[in-house]
């Protein structure tokens, strides 16, 4: 009979040692205060970091259309005849320490559309051996005569092709295109022996053409573009300006406005931004931390008030339901 219960009896008798956390008012208030005191500094620090970032945003899609094409923007952008050069002037609000990052931002561009996301072939991108591997690339898999497009697929095909030239006081600023893509993409996803082939050779040109003498691993624009964005509004890194920009300096931007966002009512923005340790300008985290921290403190105060005004002694048996409405007519003595 003894061995009947010889198994771990603490387990089967359900008497494993356990701690029993209880959400007492004190604990709740403490937790709120704790979160508040942790979050508010973090919020302040990140908000500060975000504020220290200088950012210039310029929407140019409308402004870069000559007035006579105001009603026919799509025709303008699709025409090969029209002059798509556009001059914009930006004012630096504050000192922008180098490196100043140049981004383009697109709106209403669904890089996360299912048809779009899957329209690529990672094997092909990675290795020369798979150059003819275009299985998932429809409808931009092959040229009309059936030879494989490298890089294939809609993503590559719709590569962004506006270009920006910057000058300050008539002196051109060099835009570095090195190191704008994540290293891992460059090293592992895009092969150094894969060269563009048959790219943008069809009747319909989606976007930029690629230098077919450069391997894909060095085509950082493409690599950046092909890390598809999560949301229909996204920024992509265009390049870096590796000089400081003084406050109130006027920057002249020469834009080649090639990319068609007019067809789908998208927006195009040029963004110049410095970075801090937290990255680009993004107040969201800071504000969220501050709000949550503040809310916690507010709740803590409220709970304290409630605790004072409407106290409930811990473990007061009179709160037990059978004590609150006693003598249900069926209880036995």
């Amino acid at each position: 009979m003894k061995d009947f219960f010889l198994v771990d009896s603490r387990f089967s008798q359900q008497e494993l040692p356990a701690c029993k956390p209880m959400l007492t008012p004190g604990l709740v208030i403490m937790a709120f205060i704790f979160i508040g005191t942790i979050f508010i500094p973090i919020g302040l620090v990140s908000l500060f970091a975000s504020e220290s970032v200088v950012e210039i945003v310029d929407r140019y899609d409308k402004g870069c259309i000559p007035e006579k094409y105001g009603k026919h923007m799509v025709a303008f952008i699709q025409s090969k005849e029209t002059n798509k050069t556009c001059l914009r002037t930006l004012t630096v609000p504050k000192l922008m320490k180098n490196p100043v990052y140049v981004y383009y931002q697109l709106d209403n561009f669904y890089q996360n559309h299912r048809r779009y996301v899957k329209s690529r072939n990672d094997k092909q991108l990675r290795s020369k051996a798979y150059a003819s591997e275009t299985s998932t690339c429809a409808p931009e898999a092959t040229t009309a005569n059936g030879s494989a497009i490298v890089p294939c697929g809609l993503i590559a095909w719709s590569l962004f092709n506006d270009t920006y030239g910057f000058s300050v006081k008539n002196k051109a600023l060099e835009v570095s295109k090195k190191n704008i893509a994540w290293k891992s993409d460059q090293d592992s996803k895009f092969g150094s022996d894969v060269f563009p082939k048959n790219f943008q050779s069809g009747g319909l040109i989606g976007g930029a053409k690629l230098n077919s003498s450069k391997p894909l691993s060095e085509q950082e624009d493409l690599i950046v573009w092909m890390r598809t964005a999560a949301l229909p509004t996204f920024r992509k890194l265009y390049g870096k300006i590796e000089v400081d920009l003084e406050a109130n300096e006027k920057i002249t931007v020469l834009i080649q406005n090639n990319y068609n966002t007019y067809g789908f009512e998208g927006k195009k923005k040029l963004v110049l931004s410095t970075t801090s340790w937290i990255g680009g300008k993004n107040d969201f985290l800071g504000i969220a931390y501050l709000t949550v921290g503040g809310l916690c403190l507010f709740l803590a105060i409220n709970f304290v008030l409630v605790y004072v005004i409407h106290p409930r002694p811990l473990g007061d048996p009179s709160f037990l339901s059978w004590n609150r409405n006693p003598a249900g007519h069926c209880t036995y003595g």
Partner: protein
């Protein structure tokens, strides 16, 4: 079939020609030689089998089934197909199969892996479980198949395993052995060719049955003789009817008809017989017991049925989400998004020309995408949790382990664990369930004086309720406590009665006890070793009492009773006296008495009579009012102490009177019509002018802790109904004893024992009787209901109880009255139904189950409770002592009624709590996860693009969030077991279903939506710009990996917040799950596989971890997500605390109770033999208007008859009656 018959008929022809010449060469090697002769043979009636006893070769050709049995569900070959088929009968699995198939189409946004992996894991686990269970069955079969049996081989008994047994073999079965197959009973070691069998395994009846061999075969007992036996059995084909059998035995050219009386069925066991010899008729799966084997329909718990509704709601949600997405996709798709390549040749899913088709096809796409909303691993997790709960917790709970009988609790199904936490009505059998069914002679009243000094449990209970303490008095030297006798009074023990003033009355008293009964003595004829075989334990107790008083009944012949009397003439003198028994007028339920007319050796003719007080008092002679009144007082006193009483009386008869009466009696006895009625009438003639001797008081001891258990259960909001086949008086008595009824209660009694009804009944018109009773019951019900409703509206009205007997119940259960009955009984605190048949028990149970939609539990120990046990939501059998029938039908088996406290208040409540949490948590986690995906759909053009990587999605349910929830389901405890029992009211939360209401689900759903919004929008909103000095930007997979990390962390931590107690297993499992995710993503994103994987997530985690964004988001998002729940929980606990939370608070400083020992203490066990009656005198006595009555064992009537070889019709409840003497021996054997 025809071939068979022909072969067999040819065989008989051969035999007819050749007699018993041995056809030894006729074996299976030359079957053709025999089939040749077929033409000449007269065909036998089809559907019969012919068996040649003791002739293996002859039977060989027919190829009877072998005797090995297999109860396994699968074989190696059928396991996979059959097992899978079983699995896909579950809707969830089938759904996932369909989704998996759908996800292999190009329409699917996800890799088939996403759905195939969880599905196959779930199937794998389920199949392993099935295989394990089947394996255990296989082992069990093997044990049975290889148990040894003696078979006649040549002229010796050889032991062979059961499975080698063949039809026609001659076998020997020893005492207490089981019959290995269906046998034809040939010979017995008892002289008259009878044997006793116990059929408990078959039908639960534990009273012994007599089987009688044909006289022709009685001699084939020794192996030498048996080997000469050459019989041919022609009998029916195997069938599943346990009680019929037809066939002929052809032996020595004589055809003898066979009846069930000669059939010994497999599964029964041999009792009281040294050994028997039989011939095998049916083997293996053709035995009647195997042909009866059917699967008991398994019960599903109420919670699980509600779970189905929840799953349906999830399907509804899924459908809505799909509709929204598909409409969205139809609206979104537009050729203006030229970069999507939506030119003319685009596939129809994206073709803007046919938006409707786009919507429809997208529907399929998003179904596969959102499939995670259905928690695929829910069922298998719950099954696992419940399995461990029942096998590890319930079966091994020391608090439900009965040491005396070595019986642990047994959960026979793991489906109903949580149902135990919601029981509102308990239907209990009385005898053997509330009481031990061990009758003990406890007190007596002789000549107007009470003897016996014990204090009953009921008295003690009453005293304790009044706050009095009964002092324990040391056991006196004269006290005797043996089975059936628990009595002490120095005034009469050890012959001291001779010194009492009325010693003659004592003599009559004891002789009445020793003579007036139908008990059979068995075994050694010494007072210590004798065993009394009685129909009811009451009788045995009375005879045992006589034995202890010095009137030792040791032998019965058909006409005499031998009594060894001591102390009669002189102290210490012993004398064997033989009383001639002239007539026995048996007990039946209308007579309520039993009389024996005996002749003393000196010629004195006496009629001894014992019976219920009401019938005895009517028949007493005039005069002697002093003793009558005193005795009546004593009867009331005994009754209120919960004792079962009998009055004893005698009458001296003159020879003439007797002779003339006897003639009438013999006439009546031999009359063919209305014999019973005539016997009754004749009995009336002589059972009159009785002289009262006194009364006996027998204690039907309550099981240990029953009153306190019932009190605890009532405080828990559970209503207990007693449904018993017993008499109303006894039932009420016990109800008093268990404090189900007390005198402060208003009792509604609906009884058929009313004069008006009797009068109608005596007229004998059955239609009229039925109409009359129905009307009466109708009126009574209406009257009671009105009164009850009146009390219900008054604040301080008395508590109500309803007592109804079986006959009235029959009419009250009529559809037209049922409503009122239900209303009335639901108002009443306690309901006692007496004299109910097993069927009525089941009807009452389903009345409450179906009519009131309450969760019911039935508890019983006998076969008469089986229907009730099966009808209730939860059936509980009392195990350890009785037949197995109730246990076999039950869902849980416990050894004692009082273990219900642990079973319900501890295990049930915890199970309920845990399963509720597991279910709601599953619901929450899958909904949250799927909703983040849903929100993404809005920003991905409703294209059905997946937000998460395939593997994330497929492993979410089965790895990253699987284990903690199981740990929760196993270990969560709101309050400790001892507090669960200390505050039984906590159980009401389960009855109200407080933890699985739609409101609770709604709260979880609300926070799911909240959290998923936080996950999605916080993660995306904070990801828009660069995230470190390098200014580089994240892509889709970076963001989704971030979001997934947040989801995994949050849902795991959320689980911790749902826990009431946290063991290290919680930490290990939750930490482990989060760790598993990180380990997975570290490895997964670090490798490049050559296979077709879009390298979405390559290196993402390292990219993420190189930014502050990762750490800040990881800190912010889970906390914000959980803040909502935290605030909710804080407010809920503060302002609307659950009861358990208050109890937690009350006992927050208690040390962790590592043992429930202190509450194990069942209110101090009554040891009546150590108390003294004067202590009782101090008690304010609860007055009772009724007295107990011991003669109510329904099996009584038929017992004596069956012993005498007369087959009396078995009443339905007879099966409940068990041969009480067997229990102990069997119980001890189990040890």
């Amino acid at each position: 079939m025809r071939g068979w018959d022909r072969i067999r008929s040819s065989r008989s022809q051969i035999r007819g020609l050749g007699g018993f010449t041995r056809l030894s060469n006729m074996n299976e090697h030359q079957p053709s030689s025999r089939t040749v002769r077929l033409g000449r043979i007269q065909p036998q009636a089809p559907g019969h089998r012919t068996i040649y006893c003791n002739d293996r070769d002859a039977n060989l050709i027919v190829r009877f089934k072998e005797n090995s049995v297999s109860t396994t569900k699968y074989s190696i070959l059928t396991f996979l197909p059959k097992g899978l088929f079983e699995q896909f009968r579950r809707v969830a699995n089938l759904y996932f199969l369909m989704i998996s198939i759908l996800s292999t189409t190009p329409m699917s946004p996800v890799n088939p892996i996403t759905n195939v992996v969880p599905l196959s894991l779930v199937l794998f686990v389920s199949l392993i479980k099935e295989a394990f269970e089947d394996w255990k069955r296989l082992l069990n079969d093997r044990v049975i198949n290889s148990s040894p049996i003696d078979v006649l081989q040549g002229q010796r008994w050889e032991s062979i395993p059961w499975k080698k047994l063949q039809v026609g073999d001659i076998v020997r079965v020893n005492q207490d052995g089981f019959f290995p197959a269906d046998l034809l009973f040939l010979a017995s070691s008892n002289q008259d060719g009878v044997c006793y069998i116990e059929t408990a395994n078959l039908d639960g009846e534990t009273n012994l049955k007599i089987r009688k061999a044909l006289e022709k075969t009685w001699d084939y007992l020794t192996p030498e003789k048996a080997s000469e036996f050459k019989g041919e059995i022609q009998c029916e084909q195997p069938n599943n009817s346990l009680y019929t059998f037809t066939g002929n035995l052809i032996v020595q050219n004589q055809t003898l008809p066979l009846s069930p009386n000669q059939l010994l069925l497999r599964g029964c066991s041999l009792r009281n017989t040294e050994y028997i010899v039989g011939a095998v008729i049916f083997t293996g799966h053709e035995t009647k017991v195997m042909m009866n084997a059917m699967n008991v329909p398994s019960k599903r718990s109420t919670l699980e049925r509600k779970l189905d509704k929840l799953i349906l709601a999830l399907f509804g949600t899924l459908f809505c989400m799909c509709i929204i997405s598909s409409i969205g996709s139809g609206v979104f798709i537009n050729r203006k998004y030229y970069y999507l390549g939506l030119d003319e040749g685009v596939e129809s899913q994206f073709n803007p020309n046919n938006r409707f088709l786009v919507a429809v096809l997208t529907m399929f796409t998003v179904i596969t995408l959102f499939s995670t909303i259905i928690p695929i691993s829910l069922y298998v997790s719950i099954e696992m949790i419940k399995f461990i709960q029942s096998t590890q917790y319930i079966n091994k709970d020391l608090h439900m382990y009965h040491t005396e009988t070595n019986t642990p609790a047994l959960a026979r199904t793991s489906n109903l664990n949580e149902e135990l936490g919601q029981v509102e009505y308990i239907f209990s059998d009385k005898t053997g369930t509330l009481t031990r069914n061990l009758m003990e002679f406890f007190k007596c009243s002789v000549g107007g004086e009470v003897y016996g000094t014990g204090i009953t449990e009921i008295e003690r209970g009453a005293a304790e309720r009044k706050g009095m303490k009964i002092e324990e008095v040391p056991r006196s030297a004269t006290a005797v406590h043996e089975k059936g006798f628990n009595f002490d009074d120095p005034r009469i023990m050890r012959g001291a009665w001779r010194n009492e003033p009325n010693s003659d009355t004592f003599m009559e008293f004891f002789r009445c006890l020793a003579i007036c009964h139908t008990v059979l003595p068995e075994g050694d004829q010494s007072p210590e070793k004798i065993i009394y075989q009685a129909a009811s334990p009451d009788e045995a107790a009375l005879v045992t009492a006589a034995k202890n008083f010095g009137f030792f009944f040791y032998r019965r012949t058909p006409t005499t009773i031998m009594v060894r009397e001591s102390h009669v003439e002189k102290m210490g003198k012993i004398q064997d006296v033989s009383y001639e028994i002239l007539n026995v007028i048996e007990f039946n339920s209308t007579r309520k008495r039993q009389s024996v007319i005996c002749r003393y050796p000196n010629g004195r003719l006496v009629l001894y009579c014992k019976g219920a007080d009401s019938v005895i008092y009517e028949r007493l002679a005039e005069g002697n009012n002093g003793i009558k009144n005193l005795t009546r007082e004593h009867l009331v006193q005994f009754g209120s102490s919960g004792l079962r009483t009998l009055c004893l009386a005698y009458r001296d008869l003159s020879t003439e009177l007797y002779e003339s009466w006897n003639e009438k009696f013999i006439q009546a006895k031999s009359s063919l019509r209305d014999r019973e009625k005539k016997l009754d009438e004749v009995a009336e003639l002589i059972e009159k002018d009785l002289i009262l001797i006194g009364s006996t008081a027998i204690e039907d001891k309550l099981q240990e802790g029953v009153p306190s258990c019932i009190e605890t259960l009532s405080r828990a909001g559970i209503k207990i109904w007693v449904l018993t086949g017993d008499k109303m008086e006894t039932a009420i008595n016990i109800a008093y004893a268990c404090s189900l009824i007390n005198n402060d209660m208003k009792q509604f009694i609906i009884s058929s024992e009313a004069d008006a009804i009797r009068e109608v009944e005596s007229r004998g018109d059955t239609v009229e009787i039925a109409r009359f009773i129905k009307d009466t019951v109708k009126q009574e019900l209406r009257k009671c209901l009105e009164e009850a409703e009146h009390y219900l509206h008054t604040v301080t009205g008395p508590k109500l109880s309803l007592i109804i007997d079986g006959k009235c119940l029959m009419y009250a259960l009529d559809p037209s009255l049922r409503g009122n009955l239900l209303k009335l009984s639901l108002i009443c605190c306690s309901v006692v139904c007496c004299r109910v048949s097993p069927l009525q028990k089941a009807q009452v149970t389903s009345l409450v189950k179906k009519g009131a939609k309450k969760i019911t539990l039935s508890i019983g120990d006998g076969a008469n409770d089986v229907s009730m046990i099966q009808a209730a939501h939860v059936g509980v059998g009392i195990s350890g002592l009785e037949g197995m029938q109730a246990v076999m039908a039950s869902d849980f088996a416990i050894a004692q009624f009082s273990y219900l406290t642990d079973l319900l208040l501890v295990h049930g409540r915890w199970s309920y709590l845990r399963i509720c949490k597991v279910v709601t948590y599953f619901f929450y986690k899958n909904l949250t996860f799927t909703l983040t995906q849903f929100w993404f759909t809005f920003q991905a053009g409703f294209s059905g693009q997946r937000f998460y990587d395939d593997w994330f999605q497929s492993l979410f349910n089965v790895i990253f969030t699987a284990l903690p929830v199981i740990i929760l389901g196993l270990f969560d405890k709101d309050v400790s077991a001892s507090l669960s029992k200390k505050y039984p009211e906590l159980y009401k939360e389960g009855i109200r279903n407080a933890f699985f209401k739609w409101r609770v689900v709604g709260v979880w759903a609300f926070f799911s939506v909240y959290q998923s919004l936080i996950f999605y929008y916080f993660v995306t909103a904070s990801s828009r710009n660069g995230h470190n000095w390098s200014g580089r930007i994240f892509g889709l997979w970076d963001v989704s990996t971030m979001a997934f990390t947040c989801v995994v962390v949050t849902v795991n931590v959320r689980l911790l917040m749902a826990c009431n107690s946290i063991t290290r297993w919680h930490y290990i499992s939750i930490g482990g799950s989060i760790l598993a995710w990180f380990v997975f993503i570290f490895i997964y994103s670090a490798i490049m596989t050559p296979h077709d994987r879009q390298e979405n997530v390559y290196f993402v985690i390292y990219v993420l971890m190189s930014t502050f964004y990762f750490y800040f988001t990881l800190l912010l998002v889970p906390i914000v997500a959980l803040l909502g729940d935290f605030v909710y929980q804080g407010i809920q606990r503060w302002f609307f605390p659950y009861d358990y939370q208050i109890v937690q608070e009350i006992h927050r400083d208690d040390p962790d109770d590592s043992s429930r020992a202190e509450l194990l203490a069942i209110p101090s066990r009554l040891t009546p033999d150590e108390a003294r009656s004067y202590a009782i005198a101090l008690l304010p006595r609860e007055t009772s208007k009724h007295t107990g009555f011991a003669f109510d064992s329904p099996g009584y009537e038929s017992f004596f008859a069956s012993q005498a070889g007369v087959s009396a019709p078995q009443k339905a409840w007879d099966v409940a009656r068990r041969a009480s003497m067997r229990k102990q021996t069997r119980a001890s054997k189990k040890n």
